[in-house]
């Protein structure tokens, strides 16, 4: 379970990232070697979430930011962001700030 007060940041050393328009690509690195079989792409919303996982804002602040951008239900958005962060954590993209 992810707490709304938790703060996360992108583990930049594990990836090469590039933003193209509103989308993002992440190429995972294992000991500096690119793993081209696990390249990830993010759509506009995913990119916006990831860009805000800056090690400063907590999840609640990011939810509030996204609510300004998208006309969605708060509860649903919280669930979606939790799911996004859960998966990003599993894939080693983000880490929680203690």
């Amino acid at each position: 379970m992810i707490d709304l007060n938790h703060v996360f940041r992108v583990k930049k050393s594990n990836f090469v990232t590039r933003k193209v328009d509103d989308e993002m690509v992440l190429v995972p690195l294992a000991d500096s070697v690119a793993d081209m079989t696990r390249v990830l792409t993010l759509n506009e919303t995913g990119t916006l979430i990831l860009e805000n996982l800056d090690g400063k804002k907590d999840i609640r602040q990011i939810v509030n930011l996204l609510l300004k951008e998208y006309d969605v239900d708060r509860e649903e958005l919280e669930k979606d962001i939790e799911q996004f962060i859960f998966e990003a954590k599993e894939k080693g993209i983000v880490e929680q700030i203690p």
Binding site: V25, S32, V33
Partner: protein
């Protein structure tokens, strides 16, 4: 002797124990465009393996393809941005191993071949398999290009690139175009290089046949799928770029290398439209593709 690959020149020299004979690379002895970089390539034989004690292993691969002799290869690097490529043959009739040490700053490549019998003279094409291919992946990267699994044709001043994994119709597509009078750049592998702000495709010496060097601009990129019906759909955005990237030969063992490769492929796919192309193997697909220009 000199060999020209895209905008590179390789000045080839060898010692007495090596008889370098141009076979696959026989026609690559003149440049198609002006040379931007020249590498000195020095070939020698040695009884013992080249010491790579200052190097660290970075990347590796192997091939047990029934059509070629089985081998494994490793890329090594040291702290001075030198690269070593070592190939070990499992049952080559004449050679046990080959090592190429590439000094990128001085543009020197020292190639050491270890023959089975130490006093044998080795007769070989300087870009023998798989050294030629492995060197090309590195040299293309270092000169701002990349290598892609793709066939390419040029027809009425338009260049079409057809990319796919093995066995999905790259050479079938190329031969359909040849029957319609187009020039085949290559039916399997292309060296992609940006020249005067436009991306071009070049052929390179292949294992199985000798071809004349050829180049063309890339005007359209097609990702091939076999199908009972012809269907072409333009695909956009980052997913299109990543589908193209997945067909590139990618030996990326440094963060900067990965960044630079990603930037090149994204530039390539932003400049040139990418299409998903399901096709059945007859001439109709050639006409459908030509009509995309109208």
């Amino acid at each position: 002797m000199n060999i020209f690959l895209a905008s590179l020149e390789l000045k080839i020299k060898s010692t007495a124990k090596i008889d370098l004979q141009l076979t696959a690379s026989a026609k690559y002895t003149f440049p198609l465009i002006s040379t931007t970089q020249t590498y000195s390539c020095n070939y020698k034989t040695s009884k013992s393996y080249e010491s790579l004690s200052n190097f660290k292993q970075a990347f590796k691969g192997e091939s047990f393809d029934k059509q070629t002799m089985p081998y494994s290869w490793m890329v090594y690097q040291n702290g001075n941005s030198d690269i070593a490529i070592k190939i070990t043959f499992f049952n080559h009739p004449k050679i046990d191993s080959a090592t190429a040490i590439i000094n990128s700053r001085q543009k020197v490549i020292d190639i050491t071949i270890t023959p089975h019998k130490s006093d044998d003279t080795v007769t070989i094409d300087p870009l023998f398999h798989p050294l030629g291919g492995l060197l090309m992946v590195h040299l293309a990267h270092k000169s701002g290009g990349f290598i892609i699994h793709a066939s390419g044709v040029s027809c009425s001043n338009k260049g079409y690139l057809f990319s796919a994994v093995s066995g999905t119709g790259k050479s079938t597509m190329a031969s359909l175009w040849e029957q319609s009078g187009a020039l085949i750049i290559n039916d399997d592998r292309l060296w992609i290089q940006k020249i005067a702000e436009r991306w071009n495709m070049f052929n390179t010496p292949m294992i199985w046949y000798s071809q004349k060097p050829a180049m063309a601009t890339v005007d359209k990129i097609f990702l091939l799928h076999q199908s009972k019906n012809n269907l072409i759909t333009q695909i956009k955005g980052i997913n299109a770029s990543m589908q193209v990237m997945s067909n590139c030969m990618q030996h990326l063992y440094e963060k900067e290398m990965t960044k630079s490769h990603l930037n090149k492929v994204l530039d390539f796919t932003s400049q040139i439209p990418v299409y998903s192309c399901a096709f059945k193997p007859d001439k109709e697909i050639v006409e459908i593709i030509k009509e995309l220009n109208e």
